[in-house]
């Protein structure tokens, strides 16, 4: 065993906002070996600290943020943080990942994880440096949007010493159930509503500034993995060039051609080519794009810095839209107006809204309104129907402030649809809205949405299309019942690894686990063989499942909305739906592959093998 301080600092920072204490406790070195960092470590610390029955918007919810042992090294894209909490949207595990530099700055203050408990009696923000940690009043910041908040907390510093800010906007303050937490202005922990959890805790921001280095144990071993990773990133077409040129919205037309681009609240997947071209990555690049950029330490560079409205008074600049935003705020609402989507995206960034859940909730409201299920009086004068681009920006603002028709949207599509008696019109799994790939167009993707611990998320649930169409040599069948359970388990596991390393999904277009294994072993001096990494992913997946079971999830929560079983779409000339029987079979097989019983409970022998001690009764 080597010096435990390589790769990590060995310290957890714990802050209780109710009790008003700040304490530093040692990080048990076995946790690094068993859970790595990022998602793995945060899940473990969260599981230990939280009561699964707690109110997500109550003082007893716990937020854990963790960087990883690779953060602070030169590893490509290794600056991402992971946040775990109980989700106010789903009622289950909230787990969200973000680029941006905050996690890097936080690690450089000398800690491996931040645990926030309790609830402040009035708004506060937390200031972290290697020397001290302060919990300070945030009264005058309350109400500010994320950009203004970031400006306020970062001005007056030399560029080299500039701190990074992680914070919420009005949406979080107003407990919008899909509110985001943002850093570097536009990089967000978007899914599952972490912003509302912060808002409920009266926590406006966490600022971090440090220069502490991450020590690398065996530079040569680390370097061999690093060189291999960088070569493969520069060589793979997707990471080398295409994401920078086209952004993620480059996918719009491709996903349409493969029959997977949803429209009109997932009622179908048919669009006119010219409509889609208006919101394609190519059109973005030709019309509104000012420059591409990358997150901290990212050689790929998919960010879109854009400007709309020409040079006149209406002109404004910002970031986005990326693929999910384009589709959920666009075609899913039957909207093909790039400027309207982009402006609404800017508002979502500033106010702190998850664009996927927001777009899908707008679409759900549009369908409810068109079906006459929402009394017009409750829409506060808004004419809500598919295709009305003018409503987008206004609804983003109203949702963040819970005003007007926005008050109906602020609890997400499931609660909205349930309120009007049609929960089946919410396109969500575990109440988390489905991203921009129709599950009927790939059984593997469908199973990913069903079994993601956080609800319908392509990043936690497994991103099947990437391998089917973009990964080239990793093509997998779309409709194979035999292959789907294992394929999706392996994709989910690789995602757990990436989230636990603090690295970007897009590195997966270039390489798998092996370079990470060498970088990690080199950085920490610990045994992180690929077999070990596989075991860690399985351990984290089992622990996430345990939490969800304890929070009340059952196998019927691992299911798609009825629309996907009942209403087929046409894929390559064939009608495709994901029938209840197909869902049942895939779910059963997935549980078996995971080592869970027929009800989706991890079997005792699996927990024993993974050394997971269940919660004491």
């Amino acid at each position: 065993m080597s010096d435990p301080s390589f790769g990590i600092h060995g310290k957890i920072l714990e802050i209780d906002l109710s009790a008003g204490y700040v304490r530093v406790r040692p990080l048990d070195p076995s946790l690094t070996a068993d859970y790595l960092g990022g998602r793995g470590l945060a899940t473990r610390l969260f599981y230990e600290a939280v009561d699964p029955a707690s109110d997500p918007l109550g003082a007893e919810n716990v937020v854990v943020l963790a960087p990883s042992p690779l953060i602070g090294t030169s590893a490509p894209t290794a600056a991402r943080g992971h946040m775990v909490f109980k989700s106010p949207l789903t009622g289950f595990l909230g787990t969200s990942n973000s680029g941006g530099g905050w996690a890097w700055s936080f690690k450089a203050t000398g800690y491996d994880a931040l645990v926030v408990k309790g609830r402040a009696s009035s708004p506060v923000w937390i200031d972290i440096t290697p020397e001290k940690v302060d919990v300070l009043p945030a009264g005058r910041m309350w109400g500010k949007d994320i950009h203004a908040l970031t400006d306020e907390l970062t001005t007056g510093f030399e560029p080299a010493a500039r701190p990074r800010v992680l914070g919420i906007g009005p949406a979080g303050e107003n407990l919008v159930r899909f509110a985001a937490v943002a850093n570097d202005r536009n990089r967000v922990y978007g899914r599952c509503g972490p912003g509302a959890v912060w808002g409920a805790k009266n926590l406006k921001a966490v600022r971090a500034a440090g220069r502490m280095k991450t020590r690398v144990h065996d530079k040569e071993r680390y370097q061999s993995g690093y060189e291999q990773a960088m070569h493969l990133i520069r060589q793979a077409p997707v990471t080398k060039r295409l994401l920078r040129e086209m952004g993620t919205a480059g996918l719009v037309e491709l996903i349409n051609v493969i029959g997977m681009l949803p429209g009109r609240n997932f009622q179908d997947c048919t669009h006119r080519d010219e409509d889609l071209e208006a919101v394609s990555g190519e059109t973005i690049a030709k019309t509104i794009l000012e420059r591409a950029a990358g997150c901290y330490l990212c050689p790929i560079g998919c960010q879109r810095h854009t400007r709309v409205g020409g040079k006149g008074e209406q002109a404004e600049a910002g970031e986005g839209p990326e693929y999910e935003t384009v589709v959920l705020m666009g075609p899913v609402c039957d909207i093909y107006d790039l400027e309207a989507i982009t402006r609404a995206n800017y508002r979502a960034n500033e106010l702190g809204l998850d664009t996927i859940s927001f777009g899908s909730t707008v679409a759900c409201a549009m369908e409810l309104a068109e079906r006459g299920l929402i009394p017009p009086a409750e829409l506060a004068g808004l004419e809500l129907r598919f295709g009305r681009a003018a409503v987008l920006e206004r609804l983003a603002v109203e949702t963040a402030f819970r005003r007007g028709a926005g008050a109906l949207l602020a609890d997400g599509s499931f609660r909205l649809a349930e309120r009007y008696g049609r929960p089946d019109l919410s396109m969500s799994v575990k109440r988390l809205e489905i991203p921009a790939y129709d599950p009927r167009a790939s059984f593997t993707q469908a199973l990913g949405y069903m079994t993601s611990p956080s609800g319908a998320c392509h990043l936690r649930g497994g991103y099947a299309v990437s391998l089917a169409f973009f990964g080239g040599w990793k093509e997998i069948p779309r409709f194979s019942l035999l292959q789907s359970p294992i394929a999706i388990r392996n994709m989910q596991n690789h995602g757990i690894l990436q989230d636990s390393l603090g690295v970007c999904r897009f590195t997966g277009y270039a390489f798998g686990s092996e370079p990470w294994s060498r970088m990690l072993a080199g950085a920490t001096g610990l045994d992180f063989s690929v077999a070990r990494l596989e075991e860690i992913s399985n351990r984290v997946a089992a622990l996430e499942r345990l939490f969800n079971l304890e929070a009340g999830a059952g196998k019927l929560d691992d299911a798609l909305p009825p629309r996907f079983a009942e209403t087929p779409i046409i894929v390559a000339g064939e009608e495709r739906a994901v029938s209840v029987e197909i869902q049942e079979r895939m779910r059963r097989d997935y549980y078996e592959v995971r080592g869970w019983d027929a009800e989706g409970r991890p079997r005792p022998d699996l927990l024993g093998r993974l050394r997971i001690a269940g919660r004491r009764p």
């Binding site: 086209m246 993620t248 051609v257 990555g281």
Partner: protein, 91 residues
């Protein structure tokens, strides 16, 4: 037989159009279509590397990856629509 080819992204410039019909012999395989499309050096370079399909290409026939239908050896039918994309990623 006639196969319609739709071009996306940078391929629209290389081929100077959004879509074009190609007439190839009945029963021809994808290779014959690609050869017909590669009628200028720049177009050839965009489609082929040596005698194989360029690895940066994503080719879809009726929404299915051409590669899973046999790549250059895939059998085409009259009325097929081939979509030509660069390899993409994201989401």
């Amino acid at each position: 037989m006639v196969v319609k080819v739709k071009f996306f992204s940078a391929f629209r410039e290389v081929f100077g159009t959004r879509e074009r019909d190609y007439v190839i012999p009945d029963g021809a395989r994808a290779r014959a279509l690609i050869e017909a499309m590669a009628d200028q050096p720049e177009r050839r370079a965009a489609l082929l590397r040596g005698s194989n399909l360029h690895p940066h290409l994503v080719l879809l026939v009726g929404g299915e990856a051409l590669s899973s239908r046999g790549g250059l050896e895939a059998e085409l039918r009259d009325g097929d629509v081939l979509a030509v994309f660069p390899m993409l990623g994201g989401g």
